[in-house]
């Protein structure tokens, strides 16, 4: 009996001695949770890891359908194309008439660089020699060569172009050429030519934010190079699904009636 009592006493004493430590630990955990983001993850070579899910971040300084708040230095021919559709003059920053948009009217892929402005998420994969950006919108995919190769001499224009990437310190730099001129530069509707050359300087500002600083060069459509930016928020657990344009038209009797209310 006496043994049992002393055993219980000992247990009580141990609990009392430890409890302040346990309590303070719990408090530290509670305080630490909201404010301190985890460190930037790094790959085996010490470079920041860009792998994972990302979703476009609102930027108060840049209109949502543009890469920059500044007017673009268009050549007269580009300005004419822009004027013809009223690029950037709609209430929400696009052209006032949505049916001039090749994505909505003709089910075209948004192409690069416009796809960077999508509201739908994307996911980055890094493997040996290549990086992939997989976009939810139209299941789009960019392939960026990181094996040291250059651009092909005579590159055929495509919707996402030919991209090569390399590290400059902690900044990943992508150089893209070989873009067709079927796409818009941005969601505002600015045109570009097949001479468009885009350089993206991508930095992981912290665990949560990925920033793209872009330089556009297109001597056929613009009088001088100009810059822009876009930012993404990290969503490590996001599930990328599918957003496909014009599926509704397959369910409509008269495809031209499908937008915007889907007539039977």
């Amino acid at each position: 009996m006496a043994k049992r009592v002393s055993g219980a006493l000992l247990a009580l004493m141990i609990m009392l001695t430890l409890s302040p430590a346990l309590l303070s630990q719990a408090r530290v955990k509670q305080q630490a949770k909201p404010s301190v983001p985890p460190p930037i993850p790094r790959t085996a070579d010490g470079k920041p890891s860009l792998t994972g899910g990302w979703i476009r971040k609102n930027n108060r300084d840049v209109p949502s359908k543009m890469f920059t708040a500044e007017a673009l230095p268009m050549q007269p021919s580009a300005a004419e194309k822009c004027k013809a559709i009223g690029c950037g003059t709609g209430e929400r920053g696009g052209p006032p008439e949505q049916m001039v948009d090749p994505v909505i009217a003709r089910c075209a892929p948004p192409g690069f660089p416009r796809i960077l402005q999508n509201a739908e998420p994307m996911e980055i994969f890094q493997i040996r020699g290549r990086m992939f950006m997989r976009f939810e919108h139209i299941a789009g995919m960019r392939e960026i060569w990181t094996d040291g190769r250059g651009h092909p001499k005579d590159v055929d224009p495509t919707w996402y172009g030919h991209s090569i990437g390399k590290w400059d310190g902690d900044t990943f730099v992508i150089d893209t050429v070989g873009l067709n001129d079927y796409t818009w530069l941005d969601r505002a509707g600015h045109p570009h030519s097949d001479a468009l050359h885009v350089v993206e300087r991508i930095r992981r500002l912290d665990y949560n934010v990925l920033r793209f600083d872009l330089t556009f060069e297109d001597p056929k459509a613009y009088t001088k190079p100009f810059s822009g930016q876009v930012e993404f928020e990290f969503r490590p657990h996001i599930e990328i699904r599918e957003v496909i344009e014009c599926e509704d038209r397959m369910l409509a009797e008269r495809p031209e009636d499908a937008f915007p209310f889907y007539v039977k």
Binding site: Q98, M99, E136, I238, E239, E242, V243, D248, F261
Partner: protein
């Protein structure tokens, strides 16, 4: 009529001509006003779980007659990820109540269309849906 007033007259006529073509189709931000609100309750007729926007068609009884309403949502990927929706979320006969902006500014062309911000399912579950972005 002076030359100047003639010029003004033609400028005005020209403006009308342009706006006519702009609004003939579906103009950006011109489907509904964020100040207009409406609640509708009805029976699900059809649910098209499709890209780029799912469509719910419901019959709403009003003053002894039945009105068809069409409700357009964000992309299926977003509705699935954020609200857990799937193709089986609605079945014909389900009773639903939806609160949102009616399309009153063109684009609907003879249809009753609602941009939803809140939907009550037949089992009582309520989804507060992100504000419509005018398509």
């Amino acid at each position: 009529m002076s030359r100047k007033s003639l010029a003004i007259f033609f400028a005005i006529v020209g403006l009308f001509g342009i706006s006519g073509t702009l609004f003939a189709h579906h103009s950006d931000a011109a489907f509904f006003s964020r100040d207009d609100w409406k609640t509708i309750s009805g029976t699900v007729k059809e649910f098209r779980w499709m890209n780029p926007h799912p469509l719910l068609i419901i019959d709403v009884k009003q003053d002894g007659r039945v009105e068809e309403w069409r409700i357009e949502f964000h992309a299926p990927s977003k509705m699935a990820r954020q609200y857990g929706w799937a193709k089986s979320t609605f079945a014909p006969g389900d009773q639903v109540t939806i609160y949102g902006h009616p399309w009153t500014k063109g684009g609907a062309e003879g249809h009753n269309v609602l941009a939803p911000v809140k939907l009550t399912h037949s089992n009582g579950k309520v989804d507060d849906i992100d504000a419509p972005n005018n398509y």
